[in-house]
């Protein structure tokens, strides 16, 4: 079938001809490629963004719940929100993660999907930053402790730091290994 377009029906106006609204600029230079002005995620890319949101929400509340439990505070008002968040995010994360993992195993090219890589790179940057500042905070707390200005339980403080490092570091390690 022939190409069907308005140009093929109406034809192009000649230079200087009535109806020619634009000056003839001649043929397009071969080195000028079309630049996309609208960037959209791939269908799988949208699912990766969903996974990223669920992962961050779940991780933050997992850390919150663990820190609360480490500090021996099993109070209803303190635990209610993290629990609600975990009850929603853990099943949602499990479903999205397994669905995307299955798709990656079936189609290894999906690992190179730009939308997917954008999400995973963002996750890596955030988890790396979290680990970095957590370690800084730990050393700062340690210095405060040896300076005699920290009266709380250092074991609890250490366990709090450990929880953050395990969760954020685990996410960073997974995506670090997964993309190499």
């Amino acid at each position: 079938m022939d190409n069907f377009s308005l140009k093929s029906i109406l034809g192009s106006p000649e230079p200087g001809q009535a109806g020619g609204q634009y000056p003839n600029t001649g043929p397009r230079a071969p080195d000028v490629a079309p630049q996309p002005v609208v960037q959209v995620l791939s269908p799988r890319g949208v699912e990766y963004v969903f996974l990223t949101i669920v992962l961050f929400t779940g991780s933050i509340n997992l850390i919150a719940a663990l820190v609360v439990l480490i500090n021996g505070n099993i109070d209803f008002s303190v635990l209610a929100f993290p629990t609600a968040a975990l009850l929603v995010t853990v099943p949602a994360f499990a479903w999205l993660f397994l669905r995307l993992k299955r798709a990656e195993l079936a189609n290894p090219q999906l690992a190179l999907d730009p939308s997917k890589r954008r999400s995973t790179q963002f996750i890596k940057v955030v988890s790396f930053t979290t680990c970095l500042f957590t370690l800084i905070g730990f050393l700062f707390g340690f210095f405060i402790r040896i300076g005699g200005n920290y009266s709380g339980s250092f074991v609890k403080f250490f366990l709090d730091i450990l929880v953050i490092l395990v969760v954020a570091g685990g996410i960073l390690a997974y995506y670090w290994v997964n993309e190499r």
């Binding site: 609360v68 099993i74 109070d75 975990l86 853990v90 499990a94 195993l105």
Partner: protein, 273 residues
């Protein structure tokens, strides 16, 4: 055939992830069970506090109208008192009002400490007294929360109603515990300090309270305005004194009070300048 093998490979590859997610799900269920368990206690405490607020309003109105402390809540026309609330008339002016909570209004963490500080100006517990009206503190700790209310309706103690009681923690053998209470002479008390002012001093059975007003920012003698029955007095070295060594109205500098039997000790002090 190859499709079947591919499906098996995918399943095997996902098995480790399924295991990790199952552990995460199990943890979530455990936390959920804890929250459900705490919710029952929280609901019960909310009911208790609502009842306590109603009782406090009626009790304050009764004392203001009748100018006397009722012998019991029933005598003040207050019915349907939950078992978690107790009322004991200590003297013509003073009564003890206790509420037992199943859980803490705020935990021991940063949030709880901040809430406690914003509400009471203290990181310690919620026991306080010395006011002429009963006020239900929205911040409370698990267990018994008591207030010793000095209404000042009779002439004996009328001078004590205008000022909040205050005294200084003991210099005698005592250790301030992390929860704000004190261990005196090796016995843990329910003695709380609130910004340097003793707002409540009471002990469990056979425990002690030591007070010292000879040094620190609150140097001065204190007038004892209440000692609960069956209390015993010790000196600053924990040596026992005669029970009659300290009487209501005495001006004191250093002393220790202990309960020799099943009765808790309650005292109320007014600083005398």
């Amino acid at each position: 055939m190859s499709a079947k093998r591919g499906g098996s490979v995918v399943r095997n590859s996902l098995a480790k992830y399924r295991l990790g997610l199952a552990v995460l799900g199990l943890f979530t269920l455990i936390v959920f069970a804890v929250v459900l368990d705490q919710a029952g206690a929280h609901k019960q405490d909310a009911k208790t506090q609502k009842a306590a607020n109603g009782i406090a309003t009626k009790l304050n109105n009764y004392v203001n109208d009748q100018e006397k402390v009722p012998p019991s809540l029933a005598a003040a026309g207050i019915k349907d008192v939950p078992p978690s609330i107790s009322y004991v008339k200590q003297s013509a002016d003073i009564y003890d009002f206790c509420i037992t909570y199943k859980s803490s209004s705020s935990g021991s963490g940063i949030v709880g400490a901040a809430q406690s500080f914003l509400s009471t100006g203290s990181f310690a517990g919620s026991d306080y007294s010395g006011y002429s009206d009963l006020e239900i503190n929205p911040v409370y700790h698990q267990g018994k929360n008591c207030q010793l209310v000095n209404t000042g309706v009779s002439s004996i103690n009328s001078s004590s109603t205008s000022s909040q009681t205050q005294t200084q923690a003991a210099q005698t053998p005592y250790v301030k515990n992390s929860d704000g209470t004190y261990t005196v002479c090796g016995v843990k008390t329910n003695y709380f300090e609130n910004e340097g002012h003793v707002t409540r001093a009471d002990t469990p059975p056979s425990a002690s309270i030591s007070l010292n007003a000879t040094s620190g920012p609150f140097i001065g003698a204190y007038q004892l305005v209440l000692v609960s029955p069956a209390s015993q007095v010790f000196d600053e070295n924990c040596a026992p004194l005669q029970p009659t060594a300290l009487q209501v109205g005495d001006t004191v500098d250093v002393f220790t009070i202990t309960s020799p039997n099943a009765n808790a000790v309650s005292i109320l002090l007014k600083r005398s300048y």
